[in-house]
């Protein structure tokens, strides 16, 4: 059983490897995004030394590491699931003695490992060469960040699976998937760190799961959160991971009862 899951992961990794040319442009995309946000924030900082608890140097590091984290945790599980539901191939999954959601998560992980090795690491090296990124020196920051990165992946994939499974209920969930993408990019702190939002908005974002995807690991990596604080933010991630399991399982259970294949 477990080896089957490992195989799903391995096969996805190998599939990605076969199409790796696409990822060279991916590195360019992410570097360019970092570049543009870097210059925009430079202009915003102007002469002021600190905004929302971030120094200009920390902001550069935060932008670089946030985009690179996204290069790792990003996946299209929502689209894959929605496509399976729409063309009816999900019916086959029902009769397999293996949990479909787990299969998808493992495939996502296979893709994640691929993205980590061929997109995030090379992209980060280029970003360090091009922009004044300050790498943390404390080993706890590195270990904490890597562990948190894994949870970013888990939480983001859970949200993707939930959005994808929504296709069971709304037939065509293209709009929902787009909305999810926007919400994740904005509320996770990728575009603006959460501490820079006005008080009430950051208060709202702090009770939502999205900050666990980008903002919290980014805070550890930039050294804004250190020492025992790392355990606290990791705790928030574990909490959201556990909480999100619930809707994922519930929707999957409910969905199986209302399969409605549209052609295929």
């Amino acid at each position: 059983m477990n080896s089957a899951f490992i195989d799903f992961m391995r096969i996805r990794f190998l599939t990605m490897l076969a199409y790796r040319v696409n990822y060279y442009s991916g590195i360019l995309i992410y570097t360019l995004n970092i570049g543009v946000y870097y210059f925009t924030w430079q202009a915003i900082y102007g002469s002021s030394g600190e905004l929302g608890g971030f120094t200009a140097a920390q902001m550069t590091t935060y932008i670089a590491v946030s985009w690179m984290a996204r290069a790792f945790y990003f996946n299209n599980l929502d689209r894959e699931i929605a496509a399976d539901i729409r063309d009816g191939s999900i019916a086959i999954q029902f009769i397999r003695p293996i949990n479909y959601v787990m299969v998808k998560m493992m495939q996502g992980l296979g893709e994640g490992i691929f993205r980590f090795l061929l997109l995030m690491i090379p992209g980060m090296i280029i970003a360090i060469l091009l922009f004044p990124v300050e790498l943390p020196t404390a080993p706890s920051a590195w270990i904490g960040f890597l562990v948190m990165l894994f949870f970013s992946f888990l939480i983001n994939s859970q949200i993707n699976v939930i959005t994808g499974l929504a296709a069971f209920f709304v037939e065509n969930n293209e709009g929902m998937m787009r909305m999810k993408r926007v919400v994740v990019d904005l509320f996770s702190g990728l575009i603006i760190p959460i501490s820079l939002y006005p008080g009430w908005m950051s208060a709202v974002m702090k009770v939502l799961p999205f900050q666990a995807i980008t903002y919290l690991p980014g805070s550890v990596f930039t050294g804004r959160v250190e020492g025992t604080g790392i355990w606290n933010v990791l705790g928030i991630q574990v909490f959201w991971f556990a909480v999100l399991l619930l809707p994922m399982v519930l929707i999957w259970r409910k969905a199986r009862k209302r399969l409605f294949v549209q052609g295929g």
Partner: protein, 261 residues
């Protein structure tokens, strides 16, 4: 005339398919608006921490964003080549298109029209009016014809860039990674390009000229004289990039061979 009739038929068809998924139609409009809102939120949050961005005030940046939304809405409505390679080449639908008399690109664009995107253009106009009033801009006779010409030129630039990139799929099998790249970059043309370093400025002006879909044309209305020359260049850039896109496309179609599916 023949083409006008086709547009009408395709729009009728569009409405029929969309009404099958009525709820999604509204969700899509909502998600488009939310996407625009994220950019506005970015501007609002940023200006809570600074009073200018490279010498441009909050109202000016908002105005530029309003302008940016107008051609962007028209572009997203009429020029949607997102899944081209997948749908037309891999699945072989291009064969069907090529057996018909109307120009192939025209048919493909019409099959993928997305009228809800136009809502964005209207909101862009509203943003322009409000932020323009805040700056104290007065409507002059040439504003409206200028807006129409500039917005259409901006649409041509988008069209040129995206048809060029999409026509690459006639030459190579999977260039899909490039489209998301453009998608990410196009938004940067709406910030004052002078804040970027020289390389990015040149990139956004001459190579993938997204500065001409936002900051340069908007500068004309804002009376930022330093960018006037660039603003007046917008129609030229539109013509150049639009023609290059169409030429490469036509040339690519000639090389097209069915995928055999």
């Amino acid at each position: 005339m023949y083409y006008m009739g086709l547009i009408w038929e395709y729009l009728k068809n569009y409405m029929k398919t969309r009404l099958t998924y009525r709820a999604d139609f509204w969700v899509e409009i909502l998600s488009d608006l939310l996407f625009q809102a994220t950019n506005l939120i970015f501007i609002f949050v940023v200006f809570r921490h600074t009073d200018n961005l490279g010498g441009w005030s909050e109202s000016e940046v908002l105005f530029v964003y309003g302008y940016f939304m107008v051609p962007y809405g028209i572009f997203s409505c009429f020029i949607n080549l997102w899944g081209f390679s997948e749908r037309y080449i891999v699945k072989g639908e291009m064969d069907r298109i090529l057996t018909r008399p109307a120009h192939n690109l025209f048919q493909i664009l019409l099959e993928n029209v997305d009228p809800p995107a136009l809502v964005g253009s209207f909101i862009g106009l509203i943003i322009m009016i409000f932020s323009g009033a805040e700056i104290g801009l007065v409507l002059e006779w040439w504003h409206i014809p200028a807006l129409i010409i500039l917005a259409l030129s901006s649409v041509m630039i988008y069209a040129g860039i995206y048809t060029t990139l999409t026509s690459l799929s006639f030459y190579s099998d999977a260039p899909t990674g490039i489209l998301p790249l453009m998608y990410n970059i196009q938004g940067y043309g709406r910030y004052p390009v002078t804040i970027y370093n020289r390389a990015i400025q040149v990139l956004l002006t001459w190579i993938i000229p997204f500065a001409f879909v936002g900051i340069y044309p908007a500068a004309l209305f804002l009376e930022r004289s330093e960018m006037h020359r660039m603003a007046l260049l917008t129609p030229v850039m539109g013509l150049v990039f639009g023609s290059v896109g169409l030429l490469l496309w036509n040339y690519g179609v000639k090389r097209y061979r069915g995928a055999g599916s």
